[in-house]
Assembly symmetry: C2
């Protein structure tokens, strides 16, 4: 016969614990202040009473906290734990057969049936006696010992006795998970953030002068006024000179061209240096500080690649791939060649040295007050590197956030989130009708995806001017902004291009901007774009005032009878804050229709009127019942963001 | 910094491998002759070409077999392996970046663009050179070395060269699963079986004489004639005398009462002895042999509990729970007491001894030619025991099958299947309308459930005479039989009660039979029940003739416009055998309606007529298009089992 298991008397089994990502291979994600809801199937053979317990701790805690799980029915159990700090938490579930509760449960039935329970009381007394021997409190032990000595039906059914025995369960044969599961807790900003991306070099009011960090400081009030709380800057490191690109990515740029910020590294340094035309590290520090006083965090773009002028090219040639002709392998997407960019060789024999150097880049900027990193093309670096690097950084800097800029295949994007990225760019930009958008959001906002992947929705980026914006006019800009900001609790825009309605592509069919800031300095008239600026300000104000908009898990779609209209709500767990958004995907014609509201899910009455306040223009509508009729004229408005309120 | 992983250069990741039960904690189930379809997400960072390989072996094989996986798109890969033998198979998936294929892929683009590829060919030559150094075949090594020495574009793009290099991949940084996954392969009967349960004591044609094994031998032709291939006998061990029950489970039975076969053990022995009134072990051996010559396997009922007369009560009192008054704890469901049954105490300090003794019970009967066990109430014994016991038995007797008789909570039933039971009783009996039945089957016949849980559908058992059979008349008996036999590739009936239409309950509201054979001997007139016997014979013949009915994975429901009608099809992977079943759930009135056939899924033309042959009465219908109209009069027929054929 095969050997018997050591744990053959453990009768309880535990299955299907949530939250759990890939069988516990990765941590689930939460933010500070969340209650983590843990559920598990816990059951045993037979009909004995089972108990289950959740244990949890912050990784820095010496001891574990414990709480009793409650049965939900169908062998499912639940308990919650609060995550009050950033960092890594661990939790586990255990379960055991409770002989006392089983016995009490049976005793009641025997007594109800009028049976002689003399022998049963002797059995119960034994159980109480063993509890007495486990009691760590001397008074408790004494009470239990006494109860065991003279157990009567009345004493046995006294809830006080059961409570006391409950406190000293027999865990000898308790079953626990083989290994605890992990939850990474991030700052709230990981879930709720509004990003504004700008090119510092265009921040100068003087078209002839290269923008500086101080110019960006001067724009902070503008950005804060719009309601954004993350200011994201493309790379600020020295820009390479060799193979520098000219306007609109043309080859053969000159020294007069400002170059591409993603061509990292020049004679004055690499990833930890500052492009001299922007100022110096002191200027950057001032910007970080000035932003923070306005409630804005500066997010840096980390692009792990080098220009031919990067110091590492000569200091660490082993980190690059060498061609047989002795030159360094440049980036390629055959037949295209990007000779201004050298990728790192993660298959290098000195991959360890490379990993450590890249890790130091994050640490350097954390030392300069940066805690948010937008990581360029993480999908072209190994997953194992990111898993190690992000976990390592967060072990000492748990407040650090990492946004994955990967526009690639779905499984690759999800894997990056699993290995540690705090937020991710998405396919939002290419979901251009109500059906597609709903399907995509239902995937993103529900477990398992919502446990590890936090979307950050961008209506535009310097790389993506979608055809809808090229042709849809102001209504498209409005609609896409409202969608991004209300569907996803994190979103961002690339400005001032967005609020100024910049919509001209480099050429037909392209998603590249004409005169893209990636390749040249621009000057923006920030007094323009009043309509869109007003909308953005309103939307961001609504996001801050309404906790419903600060998370995604309670997103719910409501049926409409017009396929151009998308209607969805978000509310808070206590249903005290309910926001209904309706957007017209037709940017050229008025669309109207009725929405079938799931009133029960919204905590609204189905037999009394309630109020819908449009947070975009303060108009108030009196609604009643499950059908609401809306009409959206793109000339006037692209959508409603309605706060639904019980009437007093 | 935290330590770097040793495997930091392994760029490929593997996720979501199927089949996989609970993250690999349990084996998936298949039967001999199956092709196991393995899929996995396999991908790497960046844009390099990836390859993936399936490796697999029977546990007894010294070496692993390998096959290349094929990409299905969206980073999903697939390969299959045949399972030709019973026993445990293992499989794993590995993946790696293929630098040669990546290089060839890029070279083609460069050549197409007319670029100078001089340096690229030097890079390619290096890759060929490393392949040469890995080649285990001297000729191959020589060819590769030569190719490396003078690589031209033409040579590089020669598919022959790629095939050769493919054979010697660089697996230095290949990623594999941490541990192989398991598949347990059972005899085909685990998936496809028709069970007939009878009480041997009622097999005597003389009401005054207790039936014997030889009487059962005399009934074998009858059972075989009906088309069953498993003959299941309630326990055949000596029946206890103390607290023996009288007819209809009344207390105070006498020695003249035959007793309950599940009260295992008497003065002549316990689980490995034979009840003397049935004959002796020699008689049982004759029965097993006689059945096998007719293609029937005998299944034994194993009930792990003891009557007060079981030898173990005195030989192994430590395997029972003692009451404080010195008596043995009998079975209870307070306030009910079952004093004729002693449960085993799996929390005994000698649990190891108990486990081994129970294991020996199976081994004893395997020694007497039994390979199928119907296990009574497995859910009242620890899961850990079953996992060890079944795996241990199957390690030496991989052909053994175990049917779990657990009618309990869903998660408990599924866990029993996961730990090793080959088949399981189900809630089929209590799914009594078309909607419920469809929902239940869609759960059972799809992964993950279908990978570990094999349903065995029973329209009746000695414990369950459903109200539908009490009130539904012959139409109910027919309908439930057709449903069981065509929805599930394994099914069974308790006869002769079933085919003789026995429908009287012990009392109103009860699912117990009146004059139940569990407590008394019955005599059956096997010449009766002609209509139902005819149907059963037809249905079992159809099941044997049509491979579509021998598995569940391709069960598909088709919409009907009458909620009383359930329509579903099964077909084979190659779509060469298609069976459509239609059943009327209204046992009292004629119902008609049209079925909307999913012709594409059935491999049938949507623009040409096809033939529907009713396998129950040989009637043939000419059908055309996706709508078929049916009418079912319960006086005439409860359903159609239609073989759909292309017209020649």
């Amino acid at each position: 016969m095969q050997p018997l298991p050591q744990t053959g008397r453990r009768r309880v089994v535990i299955e299907n614990v949530t939250p759990q990502v890939d069988g516990g291979r990765f941590a689930a994600k939460r933010v500070v202040g969340d209650m983590v809801v843990v559920q598990a199937d816990v059951f045993a053979d037979g009909h004995d009473e089972v108990r289950a317990r959740l244990s949890w701790r912050h990784r820095n805690d010496a001891s574990w906290h414990e709480s009793e799980m409650e049965p939900l029915g169908n062998d499912r159990w639940q308990a919650t734990f609060p995550v009050g700090d950033v960092g890594r938490y661990e939790f586990s579930v255990s379960g055991w057969v409770d002989h006392w509760r089983t016995w009490v449960h049976d005793l009641k039935k025997r007594v109800d049936a009028g049976q002689d329970v003399t022998v049963d009381l002797q059995i119960g007394a034994r159980i109480v006696g063993t509890a007495a021997s486990r009691a760590t409190d001397a008074d408790h032990a004494s009470v239990l010992k006494q109860a065991s000595g003279q157990l009567t039906t009345r004493a046995a059914l006294d809830p006080g006795l059961s409570l006391l025995i409950d406190a000293y369960p027999d865990l000898t044969e308790a079953t626990s998970l083989n290994a605890p599961l992990a939850v990474v807790v991030d700052p709230v900003r990981a879930r709720f953030s509004a990003w504004y991306e700008l090119f510092p070099r265009s921040a100068s009011p003087d078209p002839k002068r290269h923008g500086t960090f101080d110019d960006v400081i001067n724009q902070l009030d503008y950005v804060a006024g719009l309601g954004f709380d993350v200011l994201y800057l493309p790379p600020i490191s020295p820009i390479g000179r060799q193979f520098r690109k000219g306007p609109d990515n043309r080859e053969g740029g000159t020294a007069a061209d400002p170059g591409v910020p993603w061509a990292i590294g020049g004679s004055t340094g690499g990833h930890t240096a500052v492009h001299a035309q922007l100022g110096d590290l002191g200027g950057f520090d001032r910007l970080v500080h000035a932003a923070r006083t306005r409630g804005i965090e500066v997010a840096l773009d980390i692009a792990f690649q080098a220009s031919p002028d990067h110091p590492w090219v000569t200091e660490h040639p082993e980190w690059f791939r060498m061609r047989p002709d002795g030159t360094v392998q440049y980036a390629e997407n055959p037949p295209k060649k990007y000779q201004d960019i050298y990728p790192f060789d993660f298959e290098s024999t000195d991959w360890r040295g490379l990993w450590q150097a890249l890790n130091e880049v994050f640490r350097f900027w954390i030392g300069h007050g940066v805690s948010i990193f937008r990581v360029d093309n993480p999908h072209t670096k190994p997953f194992a590197f990111w898993e190690w690097c992000i976990n390592d950084i967060k072990a000492s800097h748990p407040q650090a956030l990492f946004l994955a800029e990967a526009f690639t295949r779905p499984k690759v994007m999800y894997r990056l989130a699993k290995v540690g990225f705090s937020q991710s760019y998405t396919y939002f930009t290419w979901r251009n009708n109500a059906v597609e958008m709903r399907e995509y959001l239902e995937e993103l906002t529900r477990p398992p995806v919502s446990d590890f992947f936090r979307p950050n929705f961008w209506p535009n980026t310097p790389d993506i001017l979608h055809a809808d914006l090229q042709t849809g006019g102001p209504a498209a800009f409005e609609a896409r902004l409202v969608l991004a900001a209300t569907l996803s609790s994190s979103y961002g825009i690339y400005g001032p291009a967005y609020e100024l309605g910049e919509s001209t592509a480099r050429e037909p069919g392209s998603e590249e901007y004409l005169n893209s800031e990636k390749y040249q300095q621009r000057t923006w008239d920030l007094s323009g774009g009043a309509r869109l600026r007003g909308l953005i300000t309103r939307v961001n104000r609504a996001r801050h005032a309404h906790p419903a908009l600060q998370a995604n898990e309670r997103l719910l779609f409501h049926a409409t009878d017009n396929p151009n209209l998308l209607a969805y709500s978000k509310n808070t767990d206590d249903q005290r804050d309910v926001i209904l958004t309706v957007v017209n995907f037709d940017y050229h014609a008025t669309q109207s229709g009725s929405i079938e509201l799931d009133l029960a899910a919204l905590g609204l009455p189905d037999d009394a009127p309630f109020e819908a306040v449009d947070l975009l223009d303060d108009q108030t509508y009196a609604w009643n019942g499950l059908r609401a009729w809306v009409k959206l004229d793109p000339e006037v408005r692209a959508g409603h963001v309605l706060w639904l309120r019980h009437l007093p």
